[in-house]
């Protein structure tokens, strides 16, 4: 066979078209029924939270006097109303949107801090690593609620600060995971090659280390979003979260728990929504982990 002959080009083409790690992972992910179901449910939830409020006939904080504590299905209120006569369905859609948004924004904050912190500590190593990880250990030993209350009283109960506060606390685990991965990456040949090519630490971390951390980070992200939705609800439950008339899944459940004797639907529907959302995330997370870490098949 002569180099450059058609056959060789053909072979090369086929070799290039070989399945990459990510192709494999995608194939495995879509073969996982629970994960696919989770993705569909989540897509529906996101769509409902974005489009839903425009489709329902009531606004989430419109008080309708005669319709107080109306049961599900009565007088056009598909899921009933609360103690002020506000339509539960529209409040639920608004609350779902707020909870999902908090989950995504806070996770992005924790992702940014955690990945950079862990990658820098792991790559540079030595003294720097020791100091940076000691900071993480120290913050780990402080109760979560301590930070949140202090941030809350310092900056007031602003919903964007809740995003930031939760994200600023949740990055610790992410940084530990990333550091561990970085430690195993940094002695690989391709990093050595990058260094030999004259790249600086900053370039190597951003261009070579971080992209290769994607697998475990993606898995952890899908598990962080539900954890943050729970954390936000937990704060709302203690009266420290989203302030009325805004709603989140947490405030709805907390309110429902107070009125559950008279109006059980106020507890049941928000709880169901939350559980289904969390399950969807969990299935996706489990599916991603199996897809990206094939040793356990």
């Amino acid at each position: 066979m002569i180099p450059g002959s058609p056959q060789r080009a053909d072979l090369l083409e086929r070799a290039v078209k070989g399945r990459s790690l990510w192709d494999d992972a995608r194939r495995r992910l879509f073969a996982n029924k629970a994960a696919v179901a989770g993705m569909i449910v989540l897509a529906v939830m996101v769509l409902a939270a974005i489009v839903g409020p425009f489709l329902v006939p009531f606004h989430y904080d419109t008080v309708t006097k005669p319709d107080v504590w109306v049961g599900p299905g009565v007088r056009g209120h598909l899921l009933g109303t609360d103690s002020l006569g506000r339509d539960l369905l529209s409040r639920l859609l608004a609350g779902l949107g707020v909870s999902l948004a908090i989950g995504v924004v806070a996770t992005s904050v924790s992702l940014l801090i955690g990945v950079l912190w862990g990658a820098v500590a792991g790559y540079i190593g030595g003294r720097v690593d020791e100091i940076m990880m000691r900071v993480v250990d120290t913050l780990y030993s402080l109760p979560f609620i301590f930070f949140v209350i202090l941030l809350m009283v310092t900056f007031g109960r602003n919903i964007f600060l809740i995003f930031l506060a939760i994200g600023a606390v949740e990055w610790l685990t992410m940084s530990r995971i990333v550091r561990g991965q970085t430690l195993s990456l940094k002695n690989k040949e391709f990093i050595e090659a990058a260094r030999a090519a004259g790249l600086g630490s900053r370039q190597i971390i951003l261009k070579h280390i971080v992209p290769n951390l994607l697998g475990p980070v993606v898995v952890y992200v899908t598990l962080t979003i539900p954890a943050i939705i729970i954390a936000e609800s937990f704060l709302s439950f203690l009266g420290l979260g989203v302030q009325p008339p805004m709603a989140s899944l947490g405030t709805l459940i907390a309110g429902g728990a107070q009125d559950m004797e008279i109006a059980p639907w106020l507890l049941v529907f928000p709880s169901l929504t939350m559980v289904i959302t969390l399950m969807a995330f969990n299935f996706i997370g489990d599916g991603l982990r199996d897809a990206l870490d094939p040793k356990d098949r």
Binding site: T138, I149, V275
Partner: protein, 307 residues
């Protein structure tokens, strides 16, 4: 072993010191003071109160005074509860948290471990799907959903159990809070155990044990379980610390006088000394439990050397 312990304790001291420092200055940086909200104090009276608690001194001096006190085991007086020291308050409230947290983590460990092993041994069969289905539900249903729902069913509708209250730690009052605390832990522990067990059962030394003709029950108990619960050991430390210092939601819903509820109230009222006391207790618990976890790890896994 002894050298490892000493070394770890030496490392723990600076961590604890850092925790105290960070918490102290973060708290003082937050606006508010323990002496507002009450009757409007005249400037003279306020100055006198501040002087009484040594808060008229510069912040760094207060910090060193506080540190000196902590070293001697004196956490100072509460700023809100007259004539009570922080240790009094911790002493009065730790029992509820200890009983609730201790019993639920113990129950969760026993039940979760058994379920996880059963699921792993029956992998991909009905028992496995059933336990793991329930476990997923347990992970996804937060305590503030289970607690009111269980109260609604078992207390309000059926009337079998009291809705709330401590009642001197009567068993009937403990059932619901402990169940609510234990359920998610059972779910997590059974999932961890199942995953560990499945991995271990595929390893070469288990195949060797089977080839030797050892009975399956012996293989599971003596060979597999020891290795399979390793991930569990490192999970249990922080989980136990969280439960022992109180689960806020459960204490709030069931109106129990535990540490968690006290912590939030004190932080909101800026009862600086009480909050600091709780922070130190929490940090100590985490450090100690992690240390125990590491030692257990070494005891269970002969490959791990403590040094």
């Amino acid at each position: 072993m002894l050298r490892f312990l000493l070394r770890r304790l030496l490392v723990a001291v600076p961590t604890l010191f850092l925790v105290i420092t960070v918490a102290f200055f973060m708290m003082r940086a937050a606006p508010g003071s323990p002496f507002v909200n009450e009757r409007q104090l005249t400037p003279q009276v306020e100055a006198a109160v501040m002087a009484k608690f040594g808060m008229d001194k510069p912040l760094h001096e207060q910090y060193f005074n506080y540190l000196a006190g902590v070293v001697k085991g004196d956490f100072g007086p509460s700023l809100k509860y007259r004539d009570k020291s922080v240790l009094d308050i911790l002493h009065d409230n730790y029992k509820v948290s200890l009983i609730l947290g201790g019993v639920s983590i113990l129950l969760a460990a026993i039940i979760g471990l058994s379920l996880g092993v059963i699921a792993a041994l029956r992998q991909n069969r009905v028992a496995d799907y059933l336990t793991m289905g329930v476990a997923i539900l347990g992970v996804c249903i937060p305590t503030f959903v289970t607690a009111p729902l269980l109260v609604l069913v078992f207390a309000s509708r059926l009337g079998w159990l009291p809705t709330a209250g401590w009642n001197g730690g009567a068993l009937a009052n403990l059932v619901l809070p402990i169940t609510v605390l234990a359920l998610p832990q059972i779910a997590i522990i059974s999932r961890l155990t199942r995953a560990g067990m499945i991995e271990v059962l595929r390893s070469n030394y288990i195949r060797t044990a089977r080839a030797k003709g050892l009975p399956e029950s012996l293989i599971v108990r003596k060979h597999a379980l020891r290795a399979a619960i390793l991930p569990l050991v490192s999970y249990l430390g922080p989980a136990a610390a969280g439960l022992l210092t109180g689960s806020l939601v459960v204490e709030k819903i069931f109106n129990l006088p535990g540490l968690g509820k006290f912590f939030v109230i004190s932080a909101l009222q800026r009862d600086y000394t009480v909050v600091m006391g709780m922070v130190i207790v929490y940090a100590l618990l985490i450090l100690v439990l992690n240390l125990i976890a590491d030692m257990l790890y070494a005891a269970l896994d002969p490959r791990v050397k403590l040094s």
